[in-house]
């Protein structure tokens, strides 16, 4: 047996962060494909996109934007707190972040189910009677916000793991790579929403 056992016990923080950044690039390209499709159809059917966007509730959208912006702030603050060794504060701030993410999802749930009540969902009869541009707008709306919501859920799971790790002390003022990477991921979720919000809600 070797004494030089370096297989993977500890990934140093620069390496871990580099990996996360590259992963975030791939996420940007994943959403990039959808933004490209959005751009093509928006150019082709701009009047109908305007019309369809009027159906969305800009107030709920704004509320969700505020939730996410605040959550980005709290997750960044939790990182600073753990770096300074304040475990309790860090834990509290991560909790607040998860709470805000939860509120975002609750809002999203009501928003979607409201649309469903009016019969606006992919493949519905109501949608089939609409113009092509409106149909594509709602297709994109569900696809983009759906994929984004999936990312919010993944972020919530990641942050919850951080809660456990901060409690057990394996995320601490010396080793906080996990929290840092989760925060990076959370900022990406936020950043994508910052583009989704005006493109879907504010083009009326």
């Amino acid at each position: 047996m070797s004494v030089h056992n370096t297989h993977s016990e500890h990934i140093d923080s620069e390496t871990g962060k580099l990996g996360m950044w590259i992963f975030l690039f791939t996420e940007l390209f994943l959403f990039g494909g959808l933004f490209l499709v959005y751009a093509v159809f928006r150019a082709k059917y701009s009047a109908e996109f305007h019309l369809a966007a009027g159906e969305l509730n800009a107030f709920i959208g704004t509320m969700n934007t505020v939730f996410l912006l605040f959550s980005s702030m709290t997750v960044a603050m939790s990182l600073t707190a753990i770096q300074k060794g304040d475990r309790k504060l860090a834990l509290f701030l991560v909790f607040v972040t998860i709470l805000l993410a939860g509120l975002f999802m609750v809002n999203k749930y009501f928003e979607w189910s409201h649309k469903f009540e009016y019969g606006i969902y992919p493949g519905s009869e109501v949608l089939k009677n609409m113009s092509h541009g409106e149909l594509l707008f709602f297709g994109l709306y569900y696809m983009m916000t759906g994929l984004h919501a999936l990312h919010v859920l993944v972020g919530m799971v990641l942050l919850s793991i951080n809660v456990v790790k901060i409690r057990s002390g394996s995320v601490n003022s010396d080793h906080y790579l996990m929290l840092e990477n989760s925060a990076l991921y959370w900022h990406l979720v936020d950043l994508i929403w910052i583009f989704l919000f005006p493109l879907l809600y504010l083009i009326t």
């Binding site: 297989h7 990996g19 990039g32 696809m143």
Partner: protein, 541 residues
């Protein structure tokens, strides 16, 4: 360079970690064992897909029905394509030889994220098995071709969703491998190994990894959109719902053209390792090879439109894509000149690896030049969607990537398994492969020029002589492949024990024992010079 062979460690094949028996492989995070897991999986899936190809060739030996129904044939060429492209050729060299040799060549003990590496293998297996299953379950084998063109892929009642999901999962695995390699190369090079002291296979993997990371997500989201279209009836690509099928083709080729460079760049990297070793001479134009790898990766992003010259694009878009296609040929040609100049004046030793590497140049050149025929706007109209395209494609993918894979396995098998294979059998197998390959695909150029469409189940009698030749070639090739694999397996099990450095190579893998110890190096090597310096040759600087 310091030599850091090991007497204190056991080889990675004998090492016993936490887990015993089969689990010591299936749960291993050792990059060398993961490389072999990929290798075994790829050999199995390769023979499955090659056998499907053989069945297709038998069907095409005469016009009309020979052994199967048209729908079966459609399923066969689809699954043949999906397995070959997504399961074998795209991961192929990077996953097998990249995993095994990247850390060793840069003087590291493992990749940056060993657990992620194992996870990628599991994703790969899930995707691959799903792809094969799609042939057998439910609504019948998918019949869209590996390109999944809409609107047919939305309408077809076959298992298209399984195949799409398989491709999506395999793409994710490819992204994670690429990510792992980029971080490994950035963070884990041995002390003293600056960027321009890194061997050229790692450089090729680096360029490849960036394409994997930056292009694969696009096809990922595109496949998701097709799934959404099938399941939820959304209509992005359906003209009846206002969508645009040409948009799908753009999105698909934005990934799938760079994917060709994911396949070929590691192949180029491997032969770049082989030429200096068997010429006992430093590689010619190290910097030019590095830059051309990066240039291919970069320009390769912007040529996807040349798959769609007849799909309806503006005149400006067409000449632009055609022009860039010609530009991307330049760095490829630079590499060919470098390889030939490396051999020039060297003491050439025509061992099986070099023979395969030289065949690679020959076949790759034929594939490359016919690619320019397809990349020119005027000739493309004549050759588009004919057997000519298929022959060109197989010359690049099989003649290029495939033969580079054979070169690599003959080059590194003594290091990987610690045993030699039989040279005589290797030469004979090479003869079968080379003759069979050319006989199989060259006639298709000619019948393609005469107007034989690709993917066709039936054909006019005037094409028959070409098809008969081609089918005979396919049998010769298949026999050669079986012989080659038999020879390698027998060598790995019972061959003569290989020395640490059977080819007098100078890169780091030849300075550690064969097979390599579990941790690769006792002490990380100190790198004090550029790579490929052969001490006994006068033109070393």
């Amino acid at each position: 360079m310091s030599i850091s062979g090991s007497e204190t460690q056991v080889s990675y094949l004998e090492y016993q970690g936490k887990h015993k028996g089969i689990w010591s492989w299936l749960l291993s995070t050792d990059h060398k064992r993961i490389g072999l897991l990929y290798l075994y999986a790829i050999i199995i899936f390769f023979f499955v897909a090659a056998f499907l190809g053989l069945l297709m060739r038998i069907e095409l030996i005469a016009p009309g029905r020979t052994i199967m129904e048209p729908q079966t044939y459609n399923g066969l060429f689809t699954i043949h394509g999906i397995i070959m492209i997504f399961v074998i050729v795209i991961p192929g060299l990077a996953a097998v030889f990249g995993n095994f040799f990247l850390p060793i060549l840069i003087g590291a003990r493992d990749v940056a994220f060993p657990k992620l590496n194992l996870f990628s293998w599991y994703l790969y297996m899930i995707g691959a098995i799903l792809g094969v299953l799609s042939q057998f379950i439910g609504g019948g084998a998918p019949d869209t071709g590996w390109t999944f063109y809409v609107p047919y892929s939305v309408e077809s009642s076959t298992n298209v969703i399984y195949a799409l999901t398989a491709a999506f999962i395999l793409g994710f695995s490819s992204i994670l491998t690429g990510l792992n390699f980029i971080v490994t190369i950035h963070r884990m090079r041995a002390p003293g190994m600056g960027w321009m002291r890194m061997p050229l296979f790692p450089w090729a993997l680096y360029a490849t990894a960036w394409i994997q990371v930056l292009a694969t997500p696009i096809v990922g989201i595109t496949l998701l959109m097709v799934i959404a279209e099938r399941v939820l009836n959304i209509g992005f690509f359906d003209p009846a719902l206002g969508g645009d099928p040409v948009l799908f083709q753009h999105l698909f080729w934005i990934y799938s053209h760079p994917a060709v460079y994911i396949m070929i760049l590691p192949a180029m990297g491997i032969v770049t390792e082989i030429f200096p070793t068997f010429s006992q001479k430093p590689v010619f134009g190290y910097g030019a090879i590095v830059l051309s790898s990066l240039a291919i990766a970069f320009v390769g992003y912007f040529v996807w439109g040349h798959h769609m010259f007849t799909s309806g694009m503006s005149y400006n878009a067409r000449w632009f894509f055609s022009f860039l296609t010609f530009i991307v040929a330049v760095p490829s040609a630079i590499k060919v000149f470098n390889w030939i100049s490396t051999m020039y004046g060297g003491s050439i030793d025509l061992k099986p690896p070099l023979l395969y590497a030289i065949s690679f140049i020959f076949l790759f050149m034929i594939g490359g030049f016919t690619g320019l025929v397809l990349g020119s706007l005027a000739t493309n109209v004549q050759t588009h969607d004919t057997a000519f395209v298929m022959a060109h494609f197989h010359y690049i993918i099989f003649g290029g990537m495939g033969f580079a894979f054979f070169a690599a396995i003959h080059y590194w098998a003594p290091k990987m398994f610690g045993r030699m294979y039989n040279f005589r059998l290797a030469y004979i197998a090479w003869g079968f492969n080379f003759i069979g390959f050319n006989m199989l695909y060259f006639p298709l150029f000619i019948v393609g020029l005469q107007g034989m469409p690709r993917r066709a189940y039936d054909y006019l009698p005037q094409f028959q002589s070409g098809h008969v030749l081609s089918t005979i070639g396919s049998f010769i090739l298949f026999a050669g492949l079986l012989l080659m694999v038999y020879n390698l397996i027998r060598g790995a099990r019972k061959g003569a024990v290989a020395p640490a450095n059977p080819w007098k190579g100078v890169t780091l893998e030849w300075k550690i024992p064969s097979p390599p110890p579990h941790e690769n190096f006792d002490d990380l090597p100190e790198i004090t010079s550029k790579p490929y310096l052969f001490g006994n040759i006068s033109d070393n600087k």
